[in-house]
Point group: C4
Chain length 236, copies 4
């Protein structure tokens, strides 16, 4: 089913085509400090196709021809088969190790796009909040949507983002991320301790603005915590 | 009165036309960290027209055709009528939730432009100054103008910026912002606790440089406070 | 002697012409946080002409036609005459208030260019070093030149930058800056407490790299001081 | 053997030619704060040629014609001969003072590219880790390769980067850097106390991503140390 020649799936003059957007957005994320050193990235689901960047490459120098295209819903690879692709790059590239984590957002939240960052604000939040959940209230949380895809939170709500423990292999986070998403059905993202964060949205614009909102909140929360300021005014 | 076809109000080859400036300035503000995650923005009043960006969109990707045009002075909407527009985008967009706050700057200060940021420097200032007013002296405050539109402050003056309390809905800040502007007639901006700041000027250049000056002062003040340095040398 | 029509002094296709360089460099300085909110700038002396930016404008939006050209050596204005220009902009602009300070660098150090920043690293250094001189040793000071225009410092030397007290009017710093330059003949710059720094070099490239070196040292010194690390290992 | 006219070695339309890449990468490193004030840089080895930038110049304004080309393996200069070049710029430029240090990475690690930064994160790490080696565990170290050119580290490993003491002349670091590379055969870089870091890779992409990974780790480690958080969870 995979074809190395299915270039028509990633060649487009439309700047909003996923294969053009992913390289552009990754360049922008690089300058935000979210995806340096080959870490992090974004995937976009459009109808029955999922567009994913390669792993282990410079994220600010991705080309549309480097993009993988997978079917949605995915035919899960069995122990005896490889993952199924609609298109893979001719180069010797491997799809992002985040692929199964991105899939959680599609399957459990009906997301159209999922972003993974190694933002230091997210990592510091997981170090300064040592329990299983990051919480903040009375900040500009109203940009964040319930479950990442629902209605906006209110200024009076408490934002909760679960924190899962890191594993040596990115793929092994799939189950614990899914569990956290089930346990915290309103969570708009999942933090990974000492590693980063996964955030999603109904489409790439919303996934990106959700990530910006959460990253902003992680940053200000870390500043507040280090300054000795309370970060949670609501009764817990 | 509103017309979705009045595109001539926002289509111009002049880079200094408000409908071209707003997208350009919002891109710049995005990179300054002032308007990430759809928050914040700028409006420009030119003669009897006010140009306003949409709400809830990626502020670094606004197009001139997304801009709303309102008459000035505004025909205030009654409980039974909608807000009056000279031009609204064809897309399913809503005007910035800051609209009534921007209006305060026109009505009470005769401003030609007003900027709203979620700058973390402004937010941290509202957390570290817990009274109703932020004060600093003996810094480069001479770029700030009295009331935002008057003569420049002197190095020997004390800069005062009132801080109002946040509300769940942006619109509900209108009255408390207006009260603060009346109570502090020399204030060049109004801080909103745990939220951001509103700053204005006689035109977009001056609103922008006023915002830069104040943001610079919030940033250095927060650094000083966290380093244990006194921020107010004048007798209070 | 001043002519508003002497546009040939500032119109050139050469990107290295001072009237083209000043706008480009100011844009770059804006993004470094050195000249936001209309503060700071750069002047360039080429032979018998000095090129200076206007005061009170957005430094990242200067055009070549905004540049003032003055003769060097300057005919000092008497109480009854205005400053002498070879060219001034047609617009209602005033030359940079730093002009007499820039002149110190020409007269006392034979500089070809002088830069003034409001960098927060410089300002914080003046707050954390409360005596008349900022000192650091055992950092990458070897990029700094003795007196700003001489041989490079050695890693084993101590870098000294005098700090003068701020005044309400920029022009009034002229004498105390000159005194500091005489008292500290090896100084590569002069800090102004709660305000910023003046740095110079034999030409614009060297003035810029000197400013970068010093700003880097102010930044790391402030970080060290706040972390409780000693900043001076040489015997004082 | 040196020729000032061998311009064909540095003139190419291929953006990935080393003489085009070095200027582009240095511009990017400048904006990351790695090479301001003429410090730092990158060299690229391609087959039997080594491409090196000049010393003491603005690293963000290098042109391809400024690049030096040296043979590999190098004919070591004797006390009576100069270093041997295949091409040197017509201008009065000197090759980077890092040249012998870059050579360590070629000779001891078979690197294809080596990067030197003055990143403040690296410098602060050398100040806060006062022994001969920087160590961190349980962070995103898996982007770092064993010895800089081997297999990736695991999340469960401890990253070790030796720290050597600075010397007044860059060239004099050659032997102590080589010793550290021999003593720590798995090290992916060498920190220089109060100065910066050297990092390498099999080619320029990998040298760059290795540098990004290490710089990210220095940055987060410094934040953790200053926040009082433990940086080493593995038994030492």
């Amino acid at each position: 089913m995979a074809s190395e020649n299915a270039d028509s799936l990633v060649i487009s003059n439309d700047p909003l085509h996923p294969a053009n957007l992913i390289p552009e957005l990754c360049r922008s994320f690089y300058h935000l400090g979210w995806v340096t050193g080959t870490g992090g990235g974004i995937c976009i689901r459009a109808g029955d196709k999922v567009y994913i960047a390669p792993s282990g490459v410079q994220k600010e120098r991705i080309e549309p021809t480097h993009i993988f295209v997978l079917p949605y819903p995915q035919v899960e690879p069995s122990p005896h088969t490889d993952r199924v692709f609609l298109r893979r790059p001719a180069l010797n590239l491997k799809e992002s190790a985040c692929t199964p984590l991105f899939w959680n957002s599609f399957d459990l939240r009906n997301a159209g796009s999922c972003i993974h960052t190694h933002s230091q604000h997210a990592v510091m939040a997981t170090l300064l909040w040592d329990g299983p959940v990051f919480k903040i209230s009375h900040q500009m949380i109203k940009g964040v949507r319930i479950a990442g895809t629902g209605a906006a939170l209110s200024y009076l709500d408490t934002l909760e983002v679960p924190i899962i423990e890191n594993t040596p292999n990115e793929e092994d986070l799939k189950d614990s991320m899914a569990e956290a998403m089930v346990k915290y059905p309103n969570a708009a993202g999942v933090l990974v301790r000492r590693h980063g964060v996964y955030v999603w949205g109904l489409d790439w614009e919303k996934a990106k603005t959700q990530t910006e909102c959460l990253d902003y909140l992680f940053e200000i929360s870390v500043k507040m915590k280090l300054a000795g300021l309370p970060t949670l005014l609501n009764a817990d």
